[in-house]
């Protein structure tokens, strides 16, 4: 039940917020170094950042979208299995529903740990 709702919520969040950030990123690369610098200063930021609050918010959104991506991915894989008619026994069904949450949170932590260590 929760995982089913989350599939829609995470999909909608990525289709709106995630897609708009992707568009801004691609457009800024295509528009040249100055446009990219603007994207970089607002979203990515670094030492001596000119928009520290925006950068902090962007990280929260980034972590949220990373989790949304992995949650949607795991839940989508679960749907592939359910589409074959398998996995509807109550215990099995619940186990894999919980596993989508476990895996998505673990993957999000792993990705952001590696990013924060490097940058």
């Amino acid at each position: 039940m929760l995982v089913s709702i989350l599939h829609r919520a995470t999909g909608t969040a990525m289709a709106t917020g995630g897609v708009l950030i992707l568009l801004w990123w691609l457009l800024s690369i295509a528009s040249g170094p100055e446009s990219y610098a603007l994207f970089h200063s607002w979203v990515i930021g670094d030492a001596g950042a000119s928009h520290p609050i925006a950068n902090a918010l962007a990280r929260i959104v980034g972590i949220g979208l990373t989790w949304a991506f992995f949650q949607h991915l795991c839940s989508g894989l679960r749907h592939f299995v359910l589409d074959t008619g398998a996995g509807y026994e109550l215990k099995t069904n619940k186990f894999w529903a919980v596993m989508t949450l476990v895996v998505s949170i673990a993957a999000t932590v792993a990705i952001w740990a590696s990013l924060l260590v490097r940058f």
Binding site: R8, G11, T12, M14, A15, V19, L22, L23, L26, L27, I29, A30, S31, G32, P33, Y36, A37, H40, I44, F69, L73, G76, L77, F80, D83, I111, S114, L115, F119
Partner: protein, 130 residues
């Protein structure tokens, strides 16, 4: 499809009059998204930094620009199908529903065109010289 008997009109089409195409396309783009997004995440994480030169040079490579363009097509088609169901399920006013679905198509096609044009512009050398 058949315009003769009732069963001929209905067979295999269902209430949406488009059969299982929507459902099937959502699955096919989901599989494509799985491959392309895995490539995208790994490829991004392997970049030494996110400075302009690095990112522009990365995007200009054919082995990045092409999967990136395919990713945009697959992801945008997939979210259009998903949001369509979302709108059909939650917007009950008929006029509002039609307006929302048209807006969704504008968003997908407009956004997709901008994304594809940006990728091509960098890939054919318009911006990478900066």
């Amino acid at each position: 499809m058949g315009t003769g008997t009732g069963i001929g009109r209905v067979r295999g089409l269902g209430s949406a009059r488009s059969g299982a195409h929507h459902w099937w396309h959502q699955r096919v783009t989901a599989a494509a998204n799985l491959l392309l997004m895995t490539w995208f995440v790994v490829s991004l994480l392997r970049l030494p930094s996110f400075d302009y030169q690095v990112v522009a040079q990365w995007l200009a490579s054919p082995f990045v620009a092409v999967p990136m363009a395919l990713l945009v097509i697959s992801v945008f088609y997939h979210f259009r199908l998903g949001l369509q169901v979302f709108i059909e399920d939650y917007v009950h006013d008929e006029a509002l529903k039609v307006a929302a679905l048209i807006l969704l198509n504008f968003y997908m096609i407009g956004g997709g065109a901008l994304a594809l044009f940006s990728i091509l512009k960098v890939a054919v050398g318009g911006a990478a010289a900066g």
